[in-house]
Symmetry: C2
């Protein structure tokens, strides 16, 4: 319970305390903040104007600068899990109804005025929370991998033999990761028109007719690792900062033509949207659960076996965070973004992309009760991804993007 | 001709003037410099101690800060091609035997002492020249693409139909790009042992037995582009800063198992070495020539057709720089690195990787006249890539890497 009014089942309850980067009409410098219900706590003002970290003197003395002088969360993230735990825990205390630090905010109207914003009324604008060095996208959703595999390669070859053994992933494009609310322009590129196969047929240069979304979760790297060193699966959690919800926009006609043999390239590099509030790893701990049963009897190689049997989160989305990434020595940098891959169930209503729902556009699906149907996205469509567990009071901000027509 | 002694056919002649980032034992702060023969001109000292840009007053007044206060070349690169031309042209004048600015360095012993270093004697250390946001690797070498295709997929499917139409490429890992001289540790990962195919056989976790190099050229992005905008092929040159030689280290056994369907991942993200001196685009102009004849009669789509018939460089390596990259609106950032893909001829001696030379390790090749043979790289091997045109006095610094054994 917080002394602030928070609607029941709100994703930004006292159990969450997600971190983000805000600016306001009266102060346009981007700066760190946390969300609590419909409110936003400006951490720069909290530290400087309200002396808010005086109840956490070690942090105030030596480290609060990472929250007061930075335009991204990278330096805070680089301090590691113990510091994130300390600061998030302290802010939970400060915001709790029975706070041991009543003089910091609860009983201090002047301090509240200095650093507590109402997200909507005060015109809080959200920015990309991290400076992203590299963006990796996995293919962790088995149902998605199977569904797409059937559409692109047929049922026989839908899942390749390696899928049972390693977390398939690829390098995405960091420069095109944008914060929720950023528009997405329909891309042009090379597509082979329906009815024309690969057999000698030639592509045309055209607007994509198969613009799609992909529902994913994505984790930010906190602590980095060195070139040539490996991060084991059981220590992976210590290297992560937090999680956002992600829309990995894709153009399926361009993807299908370009992706063999080196994987998706310009078909996914035009935009990837993320929700603005980073839910820290500790906030997800109550949602830990056992992973789904493996469908194969072949055991994972030992380096991928996790000691903690509750190795995934039920949010109600389920994501398994793996670390095969560093096995050959690839270094991680603070701010690197690791996507889960599209997360799908087995029936149409639980699929995470239109590619799957519509069987590559061959059948249209109804949009809720609106009376509208879609094969792929149309210009002007606004895609909103969301997720969280209301009962636990932990979830993600919305991930929103509007489709603009192709440019001239 | 320079007033400095430069050995004949040296790649760093007065016609080159490549830019890099140096430090010295007496001043360990990384800072911009240019190479001239075996000498290095410290640009921070040139600007500050020797007032060297006084002959270029507009630059000295408003922009020289990008060379005096930065640890990378990103800000200089972001100023665009016209500024690179101005600064490089001025430095060529200053270093020319018949310089119109004799008082700056040639006839000014004190200034020479302040900023002119002897690369070897003064212990000049080279650093990564740019802060790399994204690293893209193309597959521009047709012979390489065909050779590898035959080995991985058979002659029938060696080149996919898309290869004739678009520049196949993929996103690489920026965090593992290292400067020449950095060691490379042999990776471990999932490999399927010889004789065991994909048909139900399972991989083991082991040291790679197929560590390979790839000879490539790579271009750095200078000026960036915006999300949703496209850079046309004929304006691409204006967006590039310069070129380095690159070794895209690869482990073929891990690659072959992991790369379908999303492309190479950890098999190439453990290290990518680049030469330390960036040869600016203007220095390559004299080496422009016509591209090889296309092997197919199918014309390129108009958006990929270049107006300049001399669209490639003969260095004697040949690289074609294409811009399909931004077609769907992917933004470019200053410092992004664009690799050519491995460049191979048609005979064994002109192939750019051991994978091709040895037909995936099935035949060993002699190493020059040393009496030694190699299938793939062995621990302790040092790979040195080099290239340039001595007659034109333009070429690249070496790209060197030593193979360390796998870690514990």
């Amino acid at each position: 319970m917080s002394w602030l009014p928070i609607p029941p089942d709100h994703y930004f309850s006292i159990n969450n305390i997600p971190f983000g980067i805000i600016s306001t009409p009266t102060d346009t410098t981007p700066r760190p903040a946390v969300a609590i219900g419909e409110h936003v706590l400006d951490l720069r003002a909290f530290a400087t104007s309200a002396n808010g970290f005086s109840g956490l003197p070690d942090f105030a003395r030596s480290e609060e600068e990472v929250l007061t002088s930075e335009r991204t969360l990278n330096r805070f993230a680089s301090l590691g899990r113990a510091t994130h735990r300390l600061v998030r825990g302290y802010l939970r205390e400060v915001l709790s109804a029975d706070t041991p630090h009543p003089g910091i905010l609860r009983d201090n109207p002047e301090a509240r005025k200095a650093c507590l914003l109402n997200g909507a009324e005060d015109g809080v604008r959200m920015h990309l929370p991290m400076d992203i060095g590299d963006y990796t996208d996995f293919y962790a959703g088995r149902n998605h991998a199977f569904n797409v595999g059937v559409l692109f390669r047929g049922r026989e070859n839908a899942l390749r033999p390696n899928y049972e053994h390693l977390p398939v992933g690829y390098h995405g494009r960091a420069s095109s990761v944008v914060v929720s609310g950023t528009w997405v322009r329909r891309p042009r590129g090379q597509v082979v028109k329906p009815g024309e196969g690969e057999g000698g047929k030639v592509p045309v240069f055209a607007e994509s007719g198969k613009l799609d979304f992909e529902l994913e979760l994505a984790a930010f790297v906190g602590r980095g690792s060195d070139l040539g060193s490996c991060v084991g699966v059981d220590e992976a959690g210590e290297y992560l900062f937090g999680v956002v919800i992600m829309n990995d926009w894709s153009v399926r006609d361009i993807q299908e033509w370009e992706y063999v043999p080196l994987g998706p390239f310009v078909s996914k590099s035009f935009a990837t949207s993320i929700s603005p509030w980073v839910v820290l790893m500790d906030a997800l701990e109550p949602l830990r659960t056992r992973p789904l049963e493996r469908e194969t009897k072949v055991p994972l190689l030992p380096y991928l076996q996790e000691a903690n049997s509750k190795s995934v989160y039920d949010i109600p989305l389920t994501v398994s965070i793996k670390t095969h990434h560093t096995v050959t020595g690839c270094p991680l940098r603070t701010g690197d973004l690791l996507g889960s891959g599209t997360i799908s169930g087995t029936d149409t209503r639980s699929m995470g992309s239109l590619l799957e729902m519509t069987a590559n556009g061959t059948r249209k699906v109804p949009l809720g009760d609106s009376g509208e149907f879609r094969g792929f996205l149309e210009d002007g469509d606004v895609v909103v991804l969301a997720g969280g567990c209301g009962k636990a009071g932990v979830g993600f901000g919305e991930c929103v993007g509007e489709v603009l027509p192709a440019g001239e």
